[in-house]
Symmetry: C2
Subunit: 139 residues, 2 copies
């Protein structure tokens, strides 16, 4: 079912500070501007690597779902991991049929394709995002 | 400096159970056997994805460096992230020159090339592994 490791989601108290770290300390050369996703409660920015991406997420608004994570991990850290799938509904149905807890209905994610999240209790302690592979090559 | 996202290191109390999850729930089709790395204090196994890998690590021996992580995260979770670099000594020297804390001397990792770890306090809360890109295509 799962295809590429699309990205690792990394929570941070400050995307601006994280961008400096990736650029100045790790020498990353392709980093997008940040933008707000109010419906997800996060600011988002991507560090592009040759084969995958780091998705930096910073809380947007008081109801951001990552406040809890940052309270436990004030410096930030790995928040989720995202694998590509061909069809989000088929993936969701297959997981539910096997007893996994899928969080919410499929919705549009930061890459413009449908995503779901699977509960860490069923995923070896990791919050797993599944996303439909974008149809264009630029992702 | 950093190139590909070589792998995400995922700690687990049981590689056997994690393999079942990746195979039966997520449908991963290429998973290596596990092997012991006594000098690192871990059992290791790779879930191969088309563009990257998940490195499953389970404690080996009482002095395993991941007992602490599993005490805090009994189900396991994302433990480190590994980026490829061309030359480990140049990467180490550049990081040290910029004030980052590199853990130990370069040593051979699970892919047979030199690795270092960089302290999470300098890496946005993430334990970062840097590894020299393997010379062959099979990694």
């Amino acid at each position: 079912m799962i295809g590429k490791l699309n990205h690792v989601g990394v929570a941070t108290p400050s995307i601006d500070e994280s961008v400096k770290m990736y650029r100045d300390l790790l020498g990353a050369t392709s980093i997008t501007d940040k933008w707000a996703m109010p419906e997800q409660g996060v600011w988002v920015c991507f560090v592009n690597l040759p084969n995958s991406q780091i998705e930096l997420i910073e809380p947007y608004g008081e109801k951001s779902p990552i406040h809890g994570f940052l309270a436990k991990n004030p410096k930030g850290g790995q928040h989720h991991i995202c694998f590509e799938v061909e069809n989000i509904y088929e993936a969701r149905d297959a997981l539910v049929a096997k007893g996994a807890t899928v969080l919410g209905e499929p919705r549009i994610g930061a890459h413009g394709t449908l995503i779901i999240f699977v509960h860490p209790k069923d995923m070896g302690g990791m919050l797993v995002e599944l996303m439909e592979t974008p149809k264009d090559a630029h992702h």
